[in-house]
């Protein structure tokens, strides 16, 4: 059995009361109860995570990609400068980022296995583990064996977004490339968990489909992973579609109020779930979301390959960010809001 079987079952109606409750928390009707939900979600978050927010930053290793995702700046059809960091360049970026004090890094590549093979990732990890206490990957979906190889090198976290849980919408958004294989991607988080990743982070790209349905299935997916892999920390991200070089417009608009409802519903449904909010969201909104259930934030982000130390052409970013504050500024904001910024929460064993 895999999550696909659960997914297939719940495409129809659910009779599980807990799941029904989650679905009602995401409903239009629940919009009139946001304050009550917020109080509950705030208390659950405080109890489970305390007054702390974990900080991390992404490092883009390569923007070579084999897929044609109509909403993404790395789309194979896009005429943008392509770049893949050499190991020396990886080391320079690592030195820069770790000098700011960040100890958690998320490394990303475009989804080209050919240009960015597992061997390349492993070589990068060997460099990075000298500088970071926690290394997560956000790359093409791998096999369980490949994930295990990466874990053995020092990777402890896996991030992989399904983008949308609607198979039809998925196929319309991903026109060509290996990413068209919906199921291989859907089962990647559990393969990672079986390979002993410590953290598994899933997500949907809000705007590609009816967000209520997508978030519902993402919540079920997170619950499935929590239930089946009790020794893995499960987290979610809820990115909204941002402007990118292709200027693709969202199919469904997702308002600030919708984002708030999503965070509250997820927190009440799964009190121990990690919830990340990235620099896709603007500073004021990110601050307002803090007490509602957020546990992790990215800071000082660049979505360009080598964006911290190497100048690359303007168009070569994955998407535009909205919060361009540096790490010190984000730390200061957190302190003012009564949160302890956590820069280190793991160690290479």
């Amino acid at each position: 059995m895999s999550f696909y079987d659960i997914y297939a079952k719940h495409k129809e109606l659910s009779s599980d009361p807990e799941i029904e409750k989650f679905s009602s928390l995401l409903s239009v009707e629940a919009e009139s109860n946001l304050e009550e939900m917020a109080i509950k979600a705030h208390n659950l978050t405080l109890q489970n995570f305390g007054n702390t927010i974990q900080l991390y930053t992404p490092m883009y290793l390569s923007n070579y990609c084999d897929n044609q995702c109509i909403y993404c700046g790395f789309n194979i059809k896009n005429d943008v400068e392509r770049k893949k960091l050499t190991l020396d360049e990886v080391e320079k970026e690592a030195q820069f980022i770790s000098s700011i004090g960040l100890k958690h890094i998320l490394i990303l590549t475009g989804e080209s296995r050919e240009v960015n093979p597992v061997e390349y990732l492993k070589n990068c990890v060997r460099v990075l583990r000298k500088y970071f206490d926690s290394i997560s990957i956000e790359v093409y979906p791998c096999t369980r064996e490949e994930y295990a190889e990466l874990v053995a090198e020092g990777v402890d976290g896996l991030t992989i977004y399904q983008e949308t849980y609607n198979e039809d919408a998925y196929s319309k958004m991903h026109l060509s490339g290996p990413k068209r294989d919906f199921r291989f991607r859907l089962e990647a988080p559990e393969r990672g968990a079986k390979a002993k990743m410590r953290n598994v982070n899933i997500g949907v790209l809000l705007g590609l489909n009816d967000w209520r349905k997508d978030v519902f299935f993402m919540g079920l997916h997170a619950k499935y992973l929590q239930d089946n892999f009790a020794d893995v920390d499960i987290g979610v991200s809820i990115p909204r579609l941002r402007p990118q070089v292709r200027d693709f417009k969202a199919i469904s608009e997702v308002s600030d109020k919708n984002i708030v409802q999503i965070i509250l519903a997820l927190r009440i449904f799964l009190p121990r779930l990690g919830i990340s909010v990235s620099t896709r969201e603007n500073p004021v909104f990110r601050e307002n979301l803090l007490p509602l259930g957020v546990t992790r934030m990215s800071a000082g982000s660049s979505t360009r390959v080598g964006g911290h130390t190497i100048g690359v052409d303007e168009g070569a970013e994955q998407f535009e960010i909205s919060d361009s504050r540096n790490v010190e500024e984000v730390k200061e904001m957190l302190r003012k809001k009564g949160y302890q910024p956590v820069l280190k929460d793991w160690l290479q064993l």
Binding site: Q47, G50, N51, D133, D233, K344, L347
Partner: protein
């Protein structure tokens, strides 16, 4: 005579141990530790950045405290042992709270893996305090393995649900030769007091202090509650009766 808890040769007056996670800042944590007059403090090695230029949690722990590094994040004995050895190599002392958790939903400890880690770490020369689910047999085995104390949970970590495991802990207190310290789940000072009245050697509190609106004041309250509970235990608490027991008995004239 002074009431002293002795663990591995260290004489401890204050039976309130404090955990250092979840605080809004290291400064507030430091103030709470001082208000609690803490002598034993636990710190997760995963949070310690030994080479840190500015914020190093250890700098905020009063010098008089004994730091007990915990192995938070360990999923099995092997990982716990590795974390403990890294702590010692990094100069963080040799008191270890073994914490092995392979259940991220309820954060309940794995007693078998904890025992395995305890056996190894005692041989390595650590002062070992295992965090465990309350269980007499495992408690005995931990003690036989050389644990300096055992630390059964009161209820799940961070839950603030209070002393739900009291009947099992009572048995451990009665039977084990090592100190029994209730760790986790204690939500309010009266819970801590109850643990102490029962004869527990100490309590370890974290979440209830760290997420309080006034960590300093609640730390003081816990300190008082622990003292009160301990004093009551030492004084001997009279048994409870189902009926009233008048101080001038009705049949007193027969004597």
């Amino acid at each position: 005579m002074e009431d002293i808890l002795e663990i591995a040769g260290k004489k401890i007056k204050n039976r309130l141990f404090i955990g250092t996670g979840k605080f809004a800042s290291y400064k507030i944590m430091q103030e709470a530790l001082m208000a609690a007059e803490a002598e034993v403090v636990t710190v997760a090695l995963r949070r310690v950045d030994i080479g840190a230029k500015s914020e190093n949690i250890l700098d905020y722990i009063p010098k008089a405290c004994t730091i007990m590094i915990n192995t938070s994040g360990a999923r099995n004995a092997e990982e716990a042992v590795r974390i403990a050895r890294m702590a010692k190599a990094g100069g963080a002392g040799n008191w270890i709270k073994i914490e092995v958790i392979a259940d991220n939903k309820y954060l309940l400890p794995d007693n078998l893996e904890t025992l395995k880690a305890a056996e190894i770490l005692v041989k390595d020369g650590f002062v070992v305090l295992p965090y465990m689910s309350p269980d007499l047999s495992f408690g005995r085995r931990m003690a036989e393995a050389g644990a300096a104390a055992v630390m059964p949970l009161g209820s799940p970590i961070g839950s603030n649900r209070g002393f739900k495991t009291r009947e099992l802990v009572r048995i451990m207190v009665g039977e084990l030769k090592v100190p029994v310290i209730v760790d986790a789940g204690i939500g309010k000072p009266s819970d801590a007091c109850e643990c102490m009245e029962m004869g527990c050697a100490a309590v370890l509190i974290n979440t209830a202090v760290a997420i309080s609106k006034d960590p300093v004041n609640i730390a003081k309250a816990f300190r008082l509650a622990v003292c009160a509970g301990r004093a009551a235990y030492l004084s001997g608490i009279p048994e409870t009766n189902d009926f009233a027991n008048p101080s001038s008995p009705l049949t007193g004239f027969l004597r």
